[in-house]
């Protein structure tokens, strides 16, 4: 069993806890032991970072400090693109000794310190790179009779130089997994386009204009649903489609499926 710190973030445990449930169900099947920690908000790599980048970095560092585990930090498993991006970017920025010293100084009054930086994984990368497609295949007991489009979300791949993404313009890990689950993949023109989530609270009309571009393209290919790996994209797209489908004939509502949910179903769990 590989021991990992489960980073749920703010949205999954409160608004889409079925994703957490699915992850906890499939973890033992994939040889994973998930450990919970009293993490704070990651914090979010759009709003909090826009307000104060040093605050964003320090709060992220505090979360990284919680998994220290002596001198052997537990690797972190993030189920959300935003949490992944924040924690991974913070871990990279903190490789700079001056930055680390400043942040440790800010953490000091709480008696916590980063001695060694943990590995940070997005669940999708972990599944492909560490678990492996063959092991996932072994656990599949039920083929999913679905024709799904895919949305990866910007913060899973970008900024690629900092996140170490291999093919930022052409992510394919979700494609690989869904094929193993028996899903027929339905491509669409704007697969790489942003969902506009970061703009929602700043300018909701503008966020919807951006989302319209995305959802029009999905509606045009009429999939059974859209496979996703990010709860922020989910919130933006699911809420947004309710508003947009009332005004725009070109947009029909669709169903969103989280990767964890699809994996759990194909492994025989009833969610």
């Amino acid at each position: 069993m590989t021991k990992m710190a489960l980073f749920l973030g703010c949205i999954i445990p409160t608004k889409v806890p079925k994703v957490e449930k699915a992850m906890r169900l499939i973890a033992p099947k994939l040889g994973l032991e998930l450990v919970d920690f009293p993490f704070s908000c990651c914090p979010d790599p759009t709003g909090v970072k826009s307000a104060n980048e040093l605050l964003w970095l320090t709060l992220a560092a505090r979360n990284l400090a919680l998994v220290q585990n002596g001198d052997d930090p537990l690797p972190i498993l993030a189920l959300c693109n935003g949490c992944f991006e924040t924690l991974k970017m913070a871990a990279i920025k903190l490789q700079d000794k001056q930055t680390l010293a400043l942040v440790n100084d800010l953490l000091k009054p709480d008696g916590i310190e980063i001695k060694k930086l943990p590995e940070v994984y997005h669940v999708l990368d972990f599944l492909i790179k560490e678990v492996g497609i063959d092991k996932i295949k072994e656990q599949v007991v039920q083929s999913l009779d679905l024709r799904l489009s895919i949305h990866y979300g910007c913060h899973y791949t970008k900024p690629s130089n900092l996140l170490g993404t291999e093919k930022p313009d052409d992510p394919y890990f979700m494609h690989e997994i869904l094929e193993v689950l028996g899903v027929e993949i339905q491509p669409y023109l704007e697969e790489r386009l942003c969902c506009g989530a970061a703009l929602r609270f700043v300018n909701n009309d503008l966020a919807l204009e951006v989302l319209k571009e995305k959802l029009t393209s999905i509606s045009a290919v009429k999939p059974d649903g859209v496979a996703i790996v990010c709860p922020t994209c989910f919130e933006a797209m699911d809420r947004g489609q309710k508003i947009l489908s009332r005004k725009e004939e070109s947009i029909q509502k669709t169903e969103f499926f989280f990767l964890e949910e699809l994996l759990a179903k194909s492994m025989g769990f009833d969610l």
Binding site: P13, T14, L55, T58, L102, L199, F201, V210, E213
Partner: protein, 168 residues
């Protein structure tokens, strides 16, 4: 590390540095062609935004532009810039400066207030707890709120006090 540098630099220094970072722009327009916001909002044109920063005489002049807050943070301009300009990050710096003078959107103020009050941006409410109970999920582990608040207060005053020292 730019975030730390920005916290310690005065506004004039920041403007000079931003201009140096953007000076290499050769106005190819790839950023604008990649920008999902420019598709739907024709005054959010990253290429022209870079030019206006290069011509600006003060940070405050740049912060007058509402489009400082119009970035979707998709990073496509950063990804595609042949000159290695990270314009997404330029806008992060400008939004940080805008927040310092209280010009951030109301929703950003609210998000920070929620973070300070709960340690999260999506608070745990009765509805969430009910959903969790139905799924037989364990209790959500919450952080030491006092520690989080202390840290937020320390960091928020850090940049300001460093700058005050410099400006004096």
């Amino acid at each position: 590390m730019v975030s730390i540098v920005a916290a310690q630099q005065g506004r004039e220094e920041i403007l000079d540095r931003l201009k140096r970072e953007l000076y290499v722009c050769f106005e190819c327009g790839k950023c604008s062609g990649s920008c999902v916001v420019f598709r739907v909002k024709d005054d959010m044109n990253p290429r022209l935004f870079v030019s206006s920063i290069l011509e600006a005489s003060s940070i405050d002049e740049i912060l007058e532009d509402e489009n400082v807050w119009s970035c979707a943070i998709c990073y496509d301009c950063t990804e595609r810039c042949d000159q290695g300009i990270d314009f997404t990050h330029t806008l992060f710096e400008l939004k940080n400066l805008s927040t310092e003078i209280g010009k951030q959107p109301q929703a950003i103020k609210e998000e920070l207030a929620t973070l300070h009050a709960t340690g999260r941006t999506s608070p745990i409410n009765a509805r969430a707890l009910k959903k969790r109970e139905a799924l037989d999920l364990p209790e959500i582990q919450v952080p030491d709120l006092e520690a989080i608040q202390g840290l937020i207060d320390r960091v928020t005053s850090y940049g300001t006090s460093e700058k005050k020292v410099k400006e004096e």
